[in-house]
């Protein structure tokens, strides 16, 4: 079901968290709300499920205005960061609870619980209490509980934050599989760009209560609208160089690096600029040579990550296939791929 936030605003007392936010999530789509903590992404989520009332604006599920409907009458499933399983109930009672409060017959509940438990692969754990489950299993129970009454929307509030790295990888694909199999519209709140990129159809990146950019993961990676978006996506992160515009070219602060960029034609000389270079676009293959000293080297098995300290004190990151010939402190002369560099104005807008 389509979800639409129309001029949605939320303030707590005098603190305004979100102002005039517009967001549309298509039917069957999985959207990530990505942003640093305190940017209002969880507030948005709680407004959609009805725990917070919006200060102004409308929330629509399909064509139905649910702005003033209490949580109980909105058909939403939520997976909380802490899972919020009911500790005194067994797994079966936990999953069946949404049906129990709807006064569904016991036999019907049992049938549906068995079906959904099979879907999330916990059918052998139904008699246990939540405290007897591992993190990943608790996560699955929370998912099953959210899915059992076929909600219009599935809301996931940082669902993977409490899992260890290996389980996180597994649950990432598991949640995506369930979302695809059930065809449910889902919103994922996360501060982890890898989760957002790997699980979702589209990403809405938020900063201090505003959506900065909304696009598919690859679009957003290749075409970030602001320096904030570019800095948030990508691991290892992008590195930035300070400089000025001079005759259609970017010139670094000490003047040693000059790079002509099509985006800079028509920009007045002396404009303060920031150049963003992703680690994979700085290495042995680039066309603009840069000299520097290796300040940090780290091997990740398949790839090596280097921090190159430039003479003016700024740092460029580079990621390259594993090689043994470069060591900490070595002087290197590597190239920047000028076609893949982003240039941003002083206010962070991409040029």
């Amino acid at each position: 079901m389509r979800i639409l936030l129309d001029k949605f605003s939320k303030s707590f007392g005098t603190t305004s968290v979100i102002e005039d936010m517009n967001l549309e999530v298509g039917s069957g789509e999985m959207l990530a709300l990505l942003g640093p903590s305190g940017c209002g992404k969880s507030t948005t989520l709680f407004a959609i499920c009805g725990i917070h009332r919006p200060t102004s604006g409308r929330i629509l599920f399909g064509d139905k205005d649910v702005t003033n409907l209490p949580s109980q009458e909105r058909n939403v499933g939520v997976v909380f960061q802490s899972y919020a399983l009911y500790p005194h109930m067994t797994v079966e009672e936990n999953i069946g609870f949404p049906l129990t409060v709807r006064r569904v017959t016991a036999a019907e509940i049992k049938k549906q619980v068995a079906a959904i438990a099979a879907l999330v692969h916990i059918d052998n754990l139904l008699d246990r209490k939540p405290s007897q489950l591992s993190g990943g299993q608790q996560q699955r129970v929370a998912l099953a509980r959210a899915l059992i009454r076929r909600p219009d929307v599935l809301l996931l509030d940082e669902p993977l934050a409490n899992l260890d790295a290996k389980l996180r990888l597994e649950m990432r694909s598991e949640i995506r599989r369930l979302q695809k199999e059930t065809g449910i519209t889902a919103i994922l709140v996360t501060h982890d760009q890898v989760e957002a990129m790997s699980m979702c159809d589209r990403i809405a990146i938020m900063k201090s209560g505003e959506i900065v950019q909304i696009a598919t993961p690859s679009q957003m990676y290749q075409d970030p609208r602001t320096a904030f978006v570019a800095g948030f996506l990508g691991n290892p992160p992008i590195s930035f160089l300070k400089g000025k515009a001079a005759q259609g070219a970017f010139v670094s602060t000490d003047g040693k690096l000059q790079m002509t960029l099509p985006a800079l034609s028509g920009i007045a000389d002396g404009t303060v600029l920031t150049l963003g270079i992703r680690p994979e676009h700085f290495g042995t293959a680039g066309d603009i040579p840069v000299e520097g000293r290796i300040a940090f080297a780290e091997t990740q098995g398949r790839e090596n990550l280097y921090d190159v300290l430039l003479p003016d004190g700024s740092v460029l990151r580079s990621i390259q296939p594993v090689r043994d010939d470069v060591k900490l402190g070595d002087q290197v002369r590597w190239g920047i791929d000028s076609r893949s560099a982003f240039v941003f104005a002083e206010n962070g807008q991409r040029l």
Binding site: I51, V78, L85, P87, S131, R149
Partner: protein, 280 residues
Amino acid sequence: MSEKSKTSANFSSIPVIALLGLLSLPLVVMYAYLILDTVTNSEPGSLVPNQFTLEHWKFLWETRSGKSSIWLVTLNTFIFTCCITGVILLVSSMAGYVLSRLNVPARGFFLAGVMVLHAFPSVTLIISIFIVLQYIGLYNSLIGVILVKAAIDMPLGIWLMKGFYDTVPWEIEMAGIVDGASRFTVWRRLVLPQIKPAIMALGLFSFLTGWSEFILPQVLAPGSQVQVLSVYLASLIADDNNFDFATFKAVGVFYVIPVLILYVFFQKYLMNIYGGGTKG
């Protein structure tokens, strides 16, 4: 909380035990004689009993003239105590939740009010309560004294319950609401089970204070039909004509037995009043 404290390898516990044993010896002796004296007779001036007897327990099957039957009094005490416990549990578990979680108007005022009432010495109210009960016709009735005692003990219960509710995570309630449960269902089915230890503890606590309450029944319900054990016990000692110290002791033992049983079985829950919270 560890179930058993391990004996330390570095320090011997024997001196501590010896010292504590020595200090509590007078208490042990007193308790021993309390029980011993109820089933024996001894020569005047002697501490060593010389005769086994059950005559001091005669009050169990014989009602003395001018006194009410011990079984009626015991029944009264049970009704009195159980009603108090029930009322306190019901009201404080609800009021505590409201004060802890709901956004009610004048919440701060109520919290402060509960605190003040808790600190207020209730004995100072006894004359006005007496007049009020007399006026509304509840003087010398169990209902009247039950209401008064429950009301006086309520602030502590509410405050305690509020503290326990505060430890229940919000997410559980949010999850319940989103799952479609009403706020009342959330409270009863999801939140209340989380604070079960606190309910147990408060229930026991109320039972014990109710069982040992003396002043209120003595003043507000002294009639022989509504007497409770503490008042009965006091009337024994106040009776100068048939002064019988051994019977007094026997009634005392009889009076304390339910308390001892509760302590033996439920001391674990009573400890919970100090450290609670949710356990998975």
